[in-house]
Every structure is written in C-alpha cells, then in structure tokens.
Amino acid sequence: MKALLRPMLFGVAALIVVAVAPAFLDDYTVNILVRSFLFAAVALSVDVLWGTTGFLTFGQSAFFGAGAYAAALCFTRYGYSPEIAVLSLLAAIGAAAIVALLQGWLSFYQGATPLYASVVSLVVPVVATQILFSGGTFTGSSSGLTGYDVMDLSVEDWFHLTGAFLVVVTVAVWVFVRSDAGRVLVALRDNETRCAYLGLSVPKIRIALLVGTAVIASVAGWLYAGSSGVVAPELSGFVFGTELVIWVALGGRGTLIGPVIGTIAIDVTSAYLSGSLPFLWKLLLGIAFIVVIVALPEGLIPAAGARLRRLFRRPHQTTPPRLTLAPAVPAPATSAVAVDLHDVRRSFGSLAVLRGISFQARLGELVSLVGPNGAGKTTLMRCLSDGAERNGGRVLLNGHDIASLPPHRCVAFGLGRKFQTALVFDTLTVAECLRIARTRHDRPSLWRQADTLALPEAVLQILRATGLDKALGTKAGTHSHGQKQSLELAMVMALEPSVVLLDEPTAGLTRQERIQIGAILTGLVATGRLCLLLVEHDLDFVREISSRVVVLHQGALVLDGTVEDVVASDLVRSIYAGESP
C-alpha cells in the first residue's frame, strides 16, 4: 500500500487544484485548458507507448479523432440525450479498440522491426483523415461537424470534468507503469527477444497495450467533441500525431508527468501566441524540438530539475524484495524423452547448415554439443527453440511437436534458452529481471510492487554462488559480463524449465564461478527434472560435467556417445585437427 500512497496523494492534490482553479482564471484560459487537458491525456498515451515500451507512434491522433467523431456523428444524427451520450461513448471506445487491434495485428508480429511499427502508425491517421474527407455530408468532409446538441454544461463544469479525467488517467497509468506488470513494458523496450524466450507473448502484450492507450485517446476525443462542439478531420490527422510526439519529447519521454505538464504548457502558450505571431511560434517550437532531441533526449522538464525527476520517476527500489523459496515441482517418475529431433534441416539459400540431425535426449541427461566453428551448433539451438527456424524435420519437446510455433510457445512446452551473449534487461534491477522471468508462474500485479520474490532452489543457489543475491537492487546493465551471464542463467532457471539450452554459459566467468555453476547444473540434472543441452568450447568443462557428447561437423552428426568415446575417437581428433574425415 505504501507504494500507492504517493500517486494517491498527488491525485488528490491535483483534483483539489482542478476544483478551485476556475475561480482564479479568466474564461478564455479556462476554455483553453479544457482542450489542453484532453490533449495532455492523449500525449500521456503516446508516452506510455513511446517512452515506456519504445514504440514511436504517430497514430494516437487517429483514436482521438475516432472518439471525437463517434460523439459528433451520434449527436448530429440522433440529437442529445443521456442514453445517446452513453451509446456514443461505447461506440467511441469500440471503434478505437477495433482500429487498434487492426493496427496492432499489422505492426506486431514475430520479427517485426520497430521502424515498421512506426510506419504503420503513420499510415493509420493518414487513412483515417482521408476517410473523413471522403465522407461527404455524413462526416462533414473538410469542414467537419458543428452545431450539434451536447450536454448542457458550463465551461467550468467542462473544466472540472476534463481535469478530473486527466488526473484519474494520469494516476492510473502512473500506478500501472510502476507496478510489477508495468516493468514488463520496460523489459519489452530493453530486449524483446529475451522477453519472448521468457515465455512472454510479445505481440499480444503490445497489442493489448495499444488497445488500452487507444481507448484513453478515444475517450479524450469524445470529451473534446462534447466540450468544443466542433470536430474537424485534422483531429485525427498525421500532423496532430506528430505534434503529440513533439510535446512528449519536450516534456520528457518516459516520465509520464512530463508530457502531461509539457502539453498543457505548450498548448496554452500556443493559444496565446498563435494569435499574434502564428508562424514564428511554430518555428520556435520546431527549433526547440530539434535542440531537445539532439542535446537533451530526456526532455525539458526532467532536465529542468533533478528533484522533479526523483519525485516522479519510479524510484529505484531502495529495499529490494525479500527472496523466498518457491514450492518445488515434483520430479517425474520416469526419465522420459525430453528432446526428440528427427531429420532437422536448415539451409540459407544454397548453403546447408544442418543436414538432417536426429537424436534424442532424456530427462536426467546432460548432453554437450561440440564441434568446430561453423559446425551448426548455434543454428541447432535456434531450431530447437523457434519453430519458424528450421526448413525440414520435426522437433518434439516433452512430447509436444513445436511445428512452426514462436519461441514463447516453445517455452510453454518447458524450454529455457540462454544465449551466447548474455541478454538481460539493462535498465531494470536484478530483482526485476528475475521477477519478469517468473511471470509465467506468478502473475505480476497490475498495481502494486510485491515485497517478496519467490524463486526455485536452483536460482537461489546460482545467485548465492555468484554474489548476485547481494546486488538485487542494482541495475542489470551495470554489471560485468560474467555477472550478466550468471543473471541470465538464473533467469532461465527461474522458468523452471525441463529442457535447457545453454550456449556457452561459462564464457566470461572466473574459474571459481565456473566450478560452482557446473556443480549446480550437474546437481539439477541428477534430480531427474532436467535435460540439459550445452554448447561449449571449453572441453575440460564438457568433460567434467557431461553425461553424453554429440559431435557436429559441417552440419551433420558425426558421433554420439559417452565422454570416453569422444575423447578416444580418431574421427573427432581429425576434425579438430582440420583434416577432412
């Protein structure tokens, strides 16, 4: 509850300000502020997408326009009544949600680039405006709609209504982004691949978030149509979409409160100045924008005061959560086949990297994949963890055919994968990284920060062995390469996987750490809960911990046997010596 105290206090204070402000302001300013409040709410939605999850969007204006037109069209056709108002609000939300789903489907798929998503976000408002232009008398074409009946509210009432709306939305978004679930959004910004391999459906999360922010923008648009009594196609346009981005950048992206204050300040100023020097004002805004982007990427408001930043950003958790032991999963009775590869093939154009690999591995086995550079070891790992990678053959994980399923579904079958270069979430703390890895097991709260973090025994062992348990509150990005390797390993083990793929897990570790991690891994395998596939160049390490060794050479499996078999094999010696077998 303590975490909620500050947003709540802020909210109450802001509501009081909104309640008394009209008494001190002239009518013109109150009128302008009604509009600014609504623009600020849309800017807030842009900041959630851009500042928090790293998706630069120009498209939020389309949702604002959708909401505004939903209200204006309903009131124009059917006149005003409270029922119509509710219906039009529902229509506004529904329309925005449908457009957002469509945009999300287009923008976010496995392997989509951030640039492409931004491109689509550009197309959406362009299309929306053209549709409004071509709507003839129905949408009022280029002159928009005006003169419809709206709720009979005074300017002050509108001020109170829109002000309260802005405060409530801001506090809700603030609490959400600071919550444990909100950390997932930052994780998406830091590293989408790692998120997918922690079992999170990246497209689904992004689409859900887009729909949520679209609804905020749409409700703001609905209120705008009600308060201003006029709507025009420009409201949903691409130019308004870019203005939103400019306001967010000036206010300070990723700070939530910065864009809100920035938007209000800029919109009010431009309302006063655009009368006297319209073009000069826009020119100054453009110059300020470039200066901020080049020199102060954090934005004006955060730069203006570090105090302000400390107050409004999520504070680094001074007390990281207490680690507790998660209840252990009972070990399976039999040593079932965990990984089953049948004739797996992968080629890039005419270059065949894997030429039909078949083998099985059971729970309780630690299989090392060895072979010279270019043998196809890492490619094989990819084919095991992403259904879209291979060109032919079948992969079964714990009896489930992975078909062409994306990585997060493979994780659901019990897979965990550690990458060759450590992938962690640089701007999150160690504890937050681990909590995101536990998302599949403990649903993170949408509004609070839990004060305990339950982890399986193996993860606690790894943390203790590498000293990471003392550094839970520090940012992951500040750690050494070796520490990141250990953290990623801990994150993978926090998934409680039954099949683990490790690509050079000990590179960058000290000898001491390597021995400890080796012991933890063999201990885990010995419990019969785990099947471990290891790619490793350190042959001493392989010899110490493997129960079986598979040798790859030029994309084919040349030997599958015990450590002794491989060490004694002339074939293996000739491969490593560079002669053709």
């Binding site: 640039l115 362009v126 299309v127 400019i246 110059i287 924008f289 470039i290």
Partner: protein, 269 residues
Amino acid sequence: MTTSAILFTVAAGLLIVFGVMKIVNFAHGGFMTLGAYGGLVASQLGLSPWLGLPVAFMAGAVCGALVERFVVRPLYIRPLDAILATWGLGIIIGQLLTLGFGREVQFVAPPLTGTIDFLGEAYSAYRLFLILAAMAIGGVFTWLLTGTRLGLATNAVILNEDLARGLGINAGLVRFATFSLGSGLAGLAGALITPLSSVDPNMGVPWLLNAFMLVMVSGSSLGTLLAASVLLGGAQVVISSLFSPVLGGLTIVVLAALLLRIRPLGLAR
C-alpha cells in the same frame, strides 16, 4: 507514368540516404519544397526556367550539407530520434518559407509547352520530359554507385560500415556526401514537379509519405525502387480514375503497408 516518374525522383534521394545511413530523412519533404521555391525564385528573377533546376539542386544540397553536419551527425546511434529531428526540420523549413513567401499557392510556368504526338496520342511535352529526367537520374545514380570510387566506398559503407572504416574509408565523408546528394535530389524533384502542380509551403508532406513508403518497400536497391514506383504509382492512377481521388491517394501507403506485412524485407529479397 508521370506519377511514377515523379515518385521515383522523390524517392531516389530518400532511398540513397536511407540505404547509406539507415536514417529516414523526414526533412526530405522540406528540401523538396525548398527546391520548388528555388525554381520559383529563379523564374521570378526572369532567369530561364532551365536554370531553375540546378538552382533547386544546389539549394537542397547546401541545406542538406548543413543539416547533416549540425543535426543528423549526433544522432547516428539513435535512428528513431533522427526521424524526429528531421521531421522537426521539415516544420522549420515550412515555417521559414511561410514567413518568407506567405502561405499562398503560387504557380510556375513549365519550361516546355505544347504537346508531342507519340503513338497516335497527344502528350504534354513537359510530362514526357519528366519521364526522361527520371530515367536520367536513375541512370546517373546507377553509374555513380557502380562505376566510381565514391560509389564503391558507398557500397562498402552500406554493407558493413565498421569494416569499411577499418579499411580506411572515411565513412563520415561518405555520409556527408550522400546526405547532401540526397537532399539536392529532393530539391531537384521539387523544382521538376512545380510546373505540374502549385507551390505552397506544405506541398512536400504528401510526397514525403508516398516516397517514404516506396523506400520501405524497395529495401535499398534502385532497381526495385523503380519497379515499386511504376507498380504502386500506376495502381494509384488506376484507382484514382476508377473510384475516387481520395482512395487513390491512399493506394500507395496502404498497399505498401500490406506488402511489408507479407514480405518484411521489402521487394528486394
């Protein structure tokens, strides 16, 4: 055909910048408008309309050079921010032109008038000239990229910048040259289309969007850009005349977005 030719001219400059720098230059529309005004000024000063073209090219190139040095260079590592900064530049150019020339729509007389009969149909001579000009630009660019040392260095930077730098190629200079050239081309394109349309401070924006989508679709090859321009530009004309100009205006962006959803790497691969 004319539409495709103009699209190609506008997009070629954007493409070369995108290919080399992986940066989308949203000020491209601004440079284009600048070129158009360059042509306008030249014609108002009573110079030959043909002289307007090099003037427009120079205006674009000089502005591009300044922008590269002071705005884009610090942003190479933040490509999305570069998009934003160049968009801001586009706004600034638009406002400066508004301050200087007013927001009225102005017209320029084409340097070529009359029609030419070709295969039994009468075509406007200037439109035919445009097509030739687009082909010439395509040809010059292909020659620059494949036949000169600068082209070789540029290709090296496109493929692997770190390696190119390691081999002693001045990547900064290549980028500088590319950006100036691309901006100059934008100015040239602006001057070329003015006789067909009108000149106003925000004329660049719709062209920018279409050209941008074309560049996205065609990856980084001039050949596919040509194909995409002809294909999508043709589709735009067909849909405009069959249904409505509004739908036609949307053709390129919508088709390109769908194409990219199906083939994320564009038509090139």
